[in-house]
Amino acid sequence: MKFLALIAVVVTGALLISGTGDMPDWADPNSPASIHVSPRYIEKTVEETAVPNMVTSVLADYRGYDTLGETTVIFTAGIACILLLRRPRR
């Protein structure tokens, strides 16, 4: 079992490392992630949402629906803990 796990882990790691070959270097200002979608968030955040903190404006507005999902996830966890553990008072 441990041996199988080790093989799975090594294979996964090797795959991931082989995938890094074609990735942009660390902190490259011209990487696709830096030039495709994100510039609008940086340049337009004050103009479009009046919020200078881009993380807040993206979190709550541009991608606000993800945050609704996130809040629902944590609500689910809270209710799940009550459902699983809470036992009525004797």
């Binding site: 796990a5 882990v9 968030y41 993380v55 996830v73 966890a77």
Partner: protein, 125 residues
């Protein structure tokens, strides 16, 4: 050599991920599996956050005075905010999964009085 220096952030996260993944698959104690799960998820967060970095850029908050006057903004001045946002969501997901898993562990301990997988499998027969 240049390949390693330019991409060392990925290597660090992959090593961390392998540690966590091995603990999830190979360890026989349920609590250790959960520790592995946390390491695994944290490594993914490191990976995403490292993709956000830009050389010479600052934190993604527009510099502004009290009057609200804002200078012209260039995308290269600030790091990419999107991975930070995604990871805020992923951290919450991680915390939630961890909470539910801990609740399950308490239920298992109540029932079997042990957290060793082998002993539980023995008791379940």
């Amino acid at each position: 050599m240049e390949f390693i220096i330019a991409k060392y952030n990925y290597w660090v996260y992959i090593v961390l991920m392998m540690v966590g993944f091995y603990a999830m698959m190979g360890k026989r104690n349920l609590a250790k599996k959960l520790v592995g799960m946390n390491i695994f998820q944290t490594s993914i967060i490191l990976y995403f956050v490292s993709t956000a970095a830009k050389k010479g850029a600052t934190i993604p908050i527009v510099e502004h005075g009290h009057g609200g006057a804002v200078h012209a903004i260039h995308a290269a001045q600030y790091v990419n905010p999107l991975p930070h946002v995604l990871m805020l969501t992923a951290i919450v997901v991680m915390v939630s999964t961890f909470g539910v898993a801990l609740a399950l562990i308490i239920m298992i301990y109540r029932r079997y009085n042990t957290l060793e997988e082998d002993e539980i499998l023995e008791l379940r027969k």
